[in-house]
């Protein structure tokens, strides 16, 4: 079994604010960390490898390499299974998994909450559809995006870090790709364009009520009646 896990670096905080007058973002030294949801994808890959054997490859993109990798995962080899986290904490879109599966023309299941069984040539999973659970058999090769809590991610180990420090990291750049047209990648290749950013609106109407408990509860009752809740 050859497994590929997609991971991403995200800002360590989302505590950023826009200055309403200048429209400029107030930052306080943004550090990067691994997208927390990707830890569940990694743990799922490790559990499957413990059962079936095989290899795990991780792929990420970032400054310097841009979005190029996504379209060229095939170059890394033939994978039976590609795993993604449910979404990233910076974009929250949950769309990269399904889009990658389309580019590779393989089946995809999102919201995977449980791995039931691994068979020869297929995997049986549970998909959480909010009101019910679908148990499905998905043929390899396929892409799954796994829910938070599918497995408890293990803690990083210093011993493992030492053991794996010589493992190869392959860097893929534009020159390694079939399509070398810069216009098709990153922001230039993106059909969506951010036009502007602005601070969210705040509900301006506010009233503070003081008084005795009876006065306050009367006032509240009147307001609830006015708003048609009572």
């Amino acid at each position: 079994m050859n497994i590929l896990v997609c991971i991403k670096q995200v800002p360590d905080t989302n505590k950023v604010e826009v200055d309403p007058i200048t429209g400029v973002l107030k930052r306080n030294g943004v550090e990067s960390k691994m997208n927390p949801y990707d830890l569940y994808a990694i743990e799922t890959a490790l559990r499957i490898r413990e059962e079936t054997g095989g290899t795990i490859c991780a792929v990420t993109m970032g400054p310097g390499q841009a979005a190029a990798v996504i379209r060229e995962i095939k170059k890394l080899g033939d994978f039976d299974l590609i795993l993604c986290g449910k979404q990233t904490t910076d974009g929250d879109t949950a769309q990269v998994g399904p889009e990658v599966s389309e580019w590779l023309n393989i089946p995809c299941v999102s919201n995977v909450s449980k791995i039931v069984e691994i068979q020869d040539g297929a995997i049986i999973i549970e998909m959480d559809m909010t009101n019910d659970i679908e148990i499905s058999k998905v043929q390899f090769p396929c892409l799954l995006t796994v829910d938070k809590d599918i497995f408890m991610p293990r803690l990083p180990s210093y011993v493992k870090k030492q053991e794996t420090k010589d493992r190869e990291i392959t860097i893929i750049t534009l020159n390694d790709l079939d399509d070398k047209d810069e216009k098709n990648y990153g922001l230039n290749g993106s059909p969506t364009q951010v036009q502007r950013i602005f601070p969210p609106e705040v509900n301006a109407h506010q009233e503070i009520w003081n008084g005795t408990a009876v006065e306050l509860s009367n006032q509240l009752l009147n307001k609830l009646q006015e708003l048609k809740f009572a």
């Binding site: 989302n14 299941v109 659970i133 230039n188």
Partner: protein, 396 residues
């Protein structure tokens, strides 16, 4: 291809320029200002920086003929024929957007034995319902549903497609976007329409601290997903308007490499996300037994009980009742907080509620900055009074 060019001699103070960039995409290297790959092309540096310091150069890009794309389509989200209410909310929005550019509104529904549901859609003001009714479309599956949606896009050529951000929509929309090589903006909270048929898509970024306005200027269709309870549904009309168009697709296109083996209904749970009225308890509650009083208030208002993180961590209420960034995001019509101080992580999960009423003893509690109506007082005195009055009202 558009790009930004830095004219070093006009930059002036490099640190000032670095501070201007909201995405941390500017850095100093060897005494020069450089733009790195974090750049989102927001062009704030062009507008706010010293004149000419950063220039925006646009190369001619072959542009598409937008007049060939007509109509706003809404994906009818359903499971086993039960239409998700987000569908009607999106139809309401689509009607509003379409009126600005004089376009028709379409609904696209795929499933099995869905004739009745399609007629129901005609009560909400859509011009056309495109229907793909096939046994193989019985249950949502990525591959056949994408094939059908692609067939619709190729034949109908809608300028924009709105999809509910449901478990189905969040899988189907990106797969379709990749198939038809267009862009998709997830979880839009505001949508508008420009005269040139560009859909203005606004969504929160960075945990809701910033709103980003996004366009899909040179691709059609334009695609956006919207969460449930963000837009307003139109009133159901007693008469049907518009027409139903039956569509067919080659059955071999409906094959899938996914076989559904079984479907297990989850226990019918009351989710706080779907409540119209929420009463939230915070640390101002002294004992677990006192929750009964708050529950009684919630019952009288036809609502549900929810809580803050400390209450859920104390084990007084289940984690699924917790409101906030580490719990659930809610947007009820009415939320009453009782003894909730109002931390940022809490308010981020409820500050889009229509009416926010806060009861807290401490007049300096941050919750009063979020609340529309703030009651400075003791919940142990106010709420029993209110409960009695509500009971009298119900009895009368």
């Amino acid at each position: 291809m558009a790009k930004l060019v830095v004219n070093q001699e006009k930059v002036g103070n490099i640190q000032d320029m670095i501070n201007i960039c909201p995405f941390g995409a500017m850095e100093e290297k060897n005494g020069e200002l450089q733009i790195n790959s974090a750049c989102k092309m927001c062009k704030i540096c062009v507008k706010k920086g010293p004149k000419g310091a950063v220039e925006y150069l646009e190369e001619e890009k072959e542009s598409i003929d937008k007049s060939l794309w007509n109509g706003i389509a809404v994906y009818v989200d359903h499971i086993d024929g039960v239409i998700h209410p987000v569908t009607y909310e999106l139809i309401g929005k689509a009607i509003e957007l379409a009126a600005k550019i004089n376009h028709p509104v379409y609904a696209i529904m795929m499933g099995s034995k869905i004739a009745d549901q399609c007629h129901e859609l005609l009560h909400y003001g859509v011009d056309r319902v495109y229907v793909y009714d096939d046994e193989k479309l019985d249950r949502f599956k990525m591959e056949p549903y994408t094939a059908v949606f692609e067939d619709f896009v190729i034949n109908v050529k809608p300028t924009a497609i709105l999809v509910g951000a449901t478990p189905v929509g969040r899988q189907l929309a990106p797969r379709l976007a990749a198939r038809v090589r267009t862009g998709l903006t997830a979880d839009c909270t505001i949508l508008d329409m420009n005269e040139n048929t560009d859909l203005v898509q606004i969504r929160p970024a960075f945990g809701g601290n910033i709103m980003a306005q996004i366009l899909t200027p040179n691709n059609r269709p334009q695609m956006a997903t919207v969460r449930y309870k963000v837009m307003d549904a139109p009133k159901r009309s007693s008469i049907e308007t518009g027409e139903i168009i039956n569509c067919y697709i080659q059955t071999e296109k409906l094959n899938s490499k996914v076989d559904v083996l079984d479907i297990i209904a989850k226990e019918k749970e009351q989710f706080i996300e779907s409540a119209e009225v929420l009463v939230v308890v915070g640390r101002g509650i002294k004992m677990q037994e006192d929750l009964q009083m708050i529950q009684e208030l919630a019952d009288l208002l036809g609502g549900q009980l929810a809580c803050t993180r400390p209450v859920s961590e104390a084990g007084w209420l289940e984690a699924k009742c917790q409101v906030g960034l580490s719990g659930r995001t809610v947007r009820p019509k009415l939320i009453i907080t009782c003894g909730v101080s109002g931390s940022v992580q809490f308010t981020a999960g409820m500050n889009n509620s229509d009416q926010i009423i806060a009861i807290n003893k401490d007049e300096n509690a941050p919750i009063f900055k979020t609340a529309h109506y703030g009651l400075v007082g003791d919940l142990y005195e106010i709420i029993p009074n209110l409960i009695n009055q509500l009971k009298v009202g119900k009895g009368a």
